[in-house]
Amino acid sequence: MNALITARGITKHFGATKALDGVDLDIFAGEVHVLLGENGAGKSTLVKVLAGIHGHDAGTIEGHSSLAVIHQELALVPELSVAENLFLNRLPRKYGFVDRAEMRRRAPELLNRVGLNVDPDAKVKDLGIAQQQMIEIARALDKNAGVLILDEPTAVLTETETDRLLQIMAQLRDNGVGLVFITHHLDEIQRVADRITVLRDGRSVGVLGPKATTQHMIELMVGRPIDEQYPRAQQRPGQPLLSISGLTKRGVFEDITIEVHAGEVVGIAGLVGAGRTEVVRAAFGVDGYDHGKVEVDGKPLPSHNVQAAIKAGLGLVPEDRKGQGLVLTATVGRNLELVTLGNRDQQRLHDIAGKLRIKGRVEQPVKELSGGNQQKVVIGKWLLADPKVLILDEPTRGVDVGAKVEIYELINRMTAQGRAVLLVSSDLPEVIGMSDRVVVMAHGRIAGELPKGAIQDQVMALAVQEISA
């Protein structure tokens, strides 16, 4: 069989660093080809080289097919309609004007190919993220893309949406499209992959078949055996360090009571939109609330006052790393010192960067780091402030397996020193594996609390429950 794309010996430098080092890759028609690797392994660079966004320093690429990339940041115009987005830049025309009738006629046909049932006249901004993704895929297919590259499409999707996407991908494969799929979720890989190319440090370290075990994938990717995915070391809980009681913000969350003790990790699970992020933002003083109380180590916090919360010993690693956690225009060091600006101890910055195993120099622009290393910088700036309670909102989203375990180890180290952690996560195995107790939220309320060792089904049962009132 002829490959749609054949890449041989692709090498790419960024300054002195070798991002890709002699990578070979074949993409055949009718296969789902997974690119697997830690953040910084070179997956995105490889995709960009294939798509012609970056040039390459050595190697050859032969393509017998056009190629489309679906990036994580979608390239849609929110204010335009579904149909206009589908035909963006090549709108059907009649007498020099846009032929709306023709557009409406052809749109459903395209939407059908990706199993999407939406009104072609609806504005894109009114659709969910999963539907928007489908629109972009439909658009790529209409341009007769033989190869479709999906860069971490499932990172922003819920479980049902992910299922749907994987189905569509299987369907496209059966129709002869070559798919390149990047994801950090190993279970998704096991469900759809025909072949898996594992990258490490810019090199291809192996091509696996569809039956590869997770253990095998992880070891290849990390380059060393990993003993345990969730290495939680439980402590005996001490006095309460964070008490949230009766916290209410009308229409957003209601009567939230959570207590976190010294040495404890308390998880908050729930579906996207259950109000978890809103609760922790209110507790940290970013947003206001209507009534209720937040206490840190026995001292009540004023509402809507981040400075007071930090002073009392609270920290928050926000869910949106680039939008809320980092100053992308600044260096690693400048980001690390953000919370502790008054303190000019450069040595501590270097110490913490070393301790976190941040790949990159302190003087390096933080935007050059991979996702996992960027997240370690965000966590690092809080470790420098040494908070009593650290709230982590989706700390491992888009973070590779190796860096994940390092973040878990940091959680362990904090609780071993008598600090406490409040962990918000949509990754169920993670929130169950790393928490000593799990609070489940649904529809802005607490649906229940489960002890250590709860099973996924119990959490899900609470998370999807309807409001009884």
Partner: protein, 301 residues
């Protein structure tokens, strides 16, 4: 020096390289440019815009813009002439404080808030002066004079403000916060930086620097005019941008701004020496600003 570090140096100091090339070209075409007295003149001519642009650098690094600096300079100079220099400085800082309050507590876009101040400050200047120029007192006149032969005070003041700006940007918490706020306001807020209060100080500093620039200008002329410094805000912004600062915030340095102001002054001086008609000078200056911004955007790619 290896090729990489030369390239790195050149890309980080593109404006400086541009300034040197510009000076070289002018010197070849008109050797009188290199005359010591002429070079001092260039420095003096650069001083007012440079001091204003240093204040602007704070605002731009913090992700804002200040269109009112020209008007504030005129108002401060006028108040200084009618009362005393220090009161002019105070009025300038107060105007800046109002800008900051409108931006941070009133949540107005900086463009709008400072556009309003541009009009208000100019209007107040006209009101206070009754449309007439007023002589400056001995203190303000001193600011524009020579400390000794060949030692113009405006030049020294420019260097002093340059030093202060560098110190504030790199060695103070306020300066570090400017970069954080301009780079990502949300991240700054979530890191415990009181964004609103800091913006207040940032705009107040810009107002203060503009007032100082206004006093230096009035000192050189020996009088404060109601129409002084009209349009200077655009030169100040141009100096900051030529110096490599990003109008989207988070990037900018004192050295860059100094070089930017010098580029404008060298260009004006050179065009005069080469006897380019004033109308054409405007065209050339505009083209140079576009070119500088273009080169900067190219090297960022």
């Amino acid at each position: 020096m290896s090729t990489i570090s030369i390239r790195k140096y050149a890309s980080e100091n593109g404006a400086l390289a541009g300034l040197l090339v510009l000076a070289l070209v002018i010197a070849i075409m008109q050797p009188a440019f290199l005359n010591a007295q002429n070079l001092l003149n260039v420095g003096v001519q650069a001083a007012v815009i440079a001091i204003m642009a240093f204040g602007m650098t704070f605002v731009v690094v913090a992700g804002g813009i200040d269109l009112s600096v020209g008007s504030i300079a005129a108002l401060a100079a006028m108040v200084g002439a009618l009362t005393a220099g220090p009161i002019g400085l105070l009025v300038g800082a107060l105007c800046g404080l109002v800008n900051g309050a409108l931006v941070s507590y009133g949540k107005l876009p900086p463009f709008i808030a400072t556009l309003a101040m541009l009009s208000v400050a100019r209007g107040l200047t006209l009101v206070f002066s009754e449309g007439q120029p007023h002589e400056t007192d001995a203190l303000v006149t001193f600011l524009g004079s020579n400390l000794a032969p060949m030692v113009p005070l405006p030049l020294l003041l420019m260097l002093a403000f340059f030093g202060i700006t560098g110190l504030v940007l790199t060695r103070t918490n306020l300066g570090r916060r400017m970069y954080a706020i301009g780079g990502n306001e949300e991240a700054a807020k979530l890191s415990g930086i009181d964004v609103r209060r800091n913006k207040l100080w940032i705009y107040a500093l810009s107002g203060l620097f503009a007032a100082a620039a206004g006093l230096v200008l009035a000192g050189r002329l020996g009088s404060a005019g109601p129409q002084a410094a009209v349009g200077y805000e655009l030169d100040a912004i141009a100096a900051v941008v030529i110096g490599g600062a990003s109008l989207s915030g988070g990037v900018g340095r004192a050295t860059g701004t100094l070089v930017g102001a010098l580029v404008l002054a060298v260009l004006r001086n050179g065009l005069n020496l080469l006897q380019v008609p004033p109308f054409w000078q405007q065209v050339v200056i505009g083209a140079v600003i576009a070119l500088a911004a273009l080169l900067d955007s190219l090297r960022r790619r």
